[in-house]
């Protein structure tokens, strides 16, 4: 904690002014526009909402978005844990570089990631033609969506788990080993319980990001209704159906459902973080 708590309050100037500006700018850019969506959703009729959300195409898109994000987040958790562990526990040649490139998916624009992964995984691409020999198709299948999300979500897991592993007390492990615990017991009884909350947070962050992801997926997925059409793409395509007067309301409905899901996951992540700080 910073020393600001102990010192007499308001010695530094500008609290009212900076807080006022922060709240004002936040309201204009985020809160007022977002409440518009909420306000708009109240004008939708219940039957319309029901028919939109029970439309098989919409249901399929939600199932795909959440399913692919969950699969990708599980894979991210597995590989992210391995990478975070390697970075935190070992010193080896190229470690600094490896540490730096973890953030590439965070810094690289999603559209760029999307087209390059599509080229690599398409049937005549560098990876795609090898995988095709084994009968595996990635591009233009749900597996392509998982692949793109695996790329996008990786830094969320690594950057959440890595500091926790770095802070683990080596003494506890050594004490356990000294008391006769074997490696597996140390792993299951000491390491995993300490890492697990952060791993779960990383999983949730990757999952949340995946559900809303658009740019990296639209190129590799092919966007076939019922097969590879994700929710964000469905919203965009509804918005472009100018001739259909109800398409606009449908897009709003789907967006509100999606926003509600995002906020629910966000709440869960905040709870996880609270749980982590409490258990420490």
């Amino acid at each position: 904690m910073s020393s600001a708590i102990r010192l007499p309050r308001r010695v530094l100037p500008g609290f009212g002014l900076t807080l006022g500006y922060t709240v004002l700018y936040l309201s204009v850019i985020v809160l007022i526009p977002m409440s518009t969506l909420l306000f708009k959703s109240f004008t939708l009729s219940w039957t319309q909402v029901r028919s939109t959300l029970s439309d098989p195409e919409v249901v399929a898109a939600f199932r795909l978005s959440f399913g692919a994000s969950a699969v990708a987040a599980v894979l991210d958790a597995i590989f992210g844990l391995i990478i975070a562990w390697s970075l935190a526990r070992y010193r080896f040649f190229g470690r600094r570089l490896m540490d730096a490139i973890i953030d590439v998916p965070f810094a690289l624009p999603t559209a760029v990631a999307g087209i390059v992964l599509t080229n690599l995984f398409s049937e005549n691409g560098l990876y795609g033609h090898v995988l095709l020999k084994y009968g595996i198709k990635i591009a233009y299948t749900p597996a392509g969506i998982v692949t793109a999300l695996l790329f996008i979500g990786l830094p969320f897991v690594v950057r959440t788990v890595q500091p926790v592993i770095e802070d683990l007390e080596r003494d506890v492990e050594e004490a356990a080993e000294g008391l006769g615990a074997n490696r597996l017991q140390v792993l299951l009884r000491i390491l995993l319980p300490s890492i697990f909350p952060s791993l779960l947070t990383g999983f949730a962050l990757a999952f949340a990001r995946g559900v809303g992801e658009y740019g990296s997926i639209v190129f590799i997925s092919g966007n076939l209704p019922f097969k590879t059409e994700i929710v964000p793409f469905l919203i965009v395509s509804k918005l472009q159906q100018f001739q259909d007067p109800t398409a606009y309301a449908q897009a709003t409905t789907i967006a509100v459902a999606m926003l509600a899901a995002s906020l629910l996951i966000l709440g869960l992540i905040n709870f996880l973080q609270w749980w982590r700080t409490r258990s420490q």
Partner: protein, 285 residues
């Protein structure tokens, strides 16, 4: 002070197995590192190199010609314009907000931070839609906008607004921890010695967190120039008019102009690399 307790003797290692030193790599370690290296090579290194490989597949001349295409030039110009508006606004907000949040404790501070981070949780597509709802023809202010013939959605102002929304928290998120870590002793000293608030900020605070400010600028800029989903919803997708770089990448790619798509992508990839270098500078200094 006299310690009453005797120092606890270190526990002798009862196991015959010698303890491995920290950082020493065993068999398990070697396997884990190998998995990490292969995974990152396949999913990060090869894709980044491939961007340049595809961009230069017709040689240097093809690359330069692709970047000189009038639609590409227009996209670069629009992207620079959008970033020139969005980045200063959000970095200024980041500094102001980080002062309030990083230097003071007040009720609702946690809630305020959560609200500021909302745009990260919102799907970019939903972010774009929000502005269409607000400012489009069918939107809340639709009749007003229609009557006065103001074009916001499907035009540059809409793109700027959507970009501000999606890059809103980044600079602040970088600067709050730095402001907190710095404490406020130095600023207090400056104030007590009679410096004005602004002078204190520019002479004491800013030099202390200068790398953080730089990274805040670079990160916000990279995110602003690379935003796709939100901008895609509010842009009219007209090549040469309302296409930013990522949207023009999409247009080229869909028209099987790979060199054009990847040449523009290579610019954004360089920007991403600069961003990561800036991050490492900040963390080192």
């Amino acid at each position: 002070m006299i310690t009453l307790q005797k120092p606890i003797p270190t526990v002798p290692q009862p196991m015959a197995k010698p303890r491995r030193q920290a950082g020493e790599i065993g068999i398990v370690g070697a396997i884990l590192i190998a998995i990490s290296v292969v995974f990152l090579a396949l999913f990060i290194v090869v894709p980044v190199i491939s961007v340049f490989y595809f961009a230069f597949q017709d040689g240097m001349r093809g690359y330069i010609a692709a970047l000189q295409d009038s639609d590409a030039v227009a996209a670069i110009r629009l992207t620079l314009l959008v970033a020139a508006i969005a980045v200063p606004l959000n970095v200024f907000f980041g500094l102001v907000g980080a002062w309030a949040i990083g230097k003071f404790r007040f009720p609702g501070r946690g809630l305020l931070l959560s609200l500021i981070e909302l745009p990260i949780a919102v799907s970019p597509v939903v972010a774009g839609l929000i502005y269409v709802m607000l400012l489009g023809i069918h939107g809340v202010f639709g009749s007003f906008i229609d009557r006065h013939n103001i074009q916001i959605i499907f035009a540059t102002p809409g793109i700027v607004l959507a970009t501000i929304f999606v890059t809103f928290p980044f600079a602040l998120r970088v600067m709050v921890p730095l402001m907190e870590a710095m404490g406020d002793n130095e600023e207090q000293a400056a104030i007590v010695l009679g410096a004005s608030g602004l002078k204190t900020f520019f002479r004491v605070t800013a030099p202390n967190i200068k790398w953080g400010i730089l990274y805040g600028v670079v990160l916000t800029n990279a995110r602003a120039m690379g935003e796709f989903g939100a901008v895609s919803v509010v842009s009219g997708h007209i090549a040469g008019v309302t296409n930013t770089i990522p949207l023009q990448v999409e247009t080229y790619y869909q028209n099987y102009n790979d060199v054009g798509a990847f040449a523009l992508s290579s610019l954004l990839t360089l920007l991403a690399i600069v961003t990561l270098v800036a991050k490492n500078i900040m963390e080192a200094g």
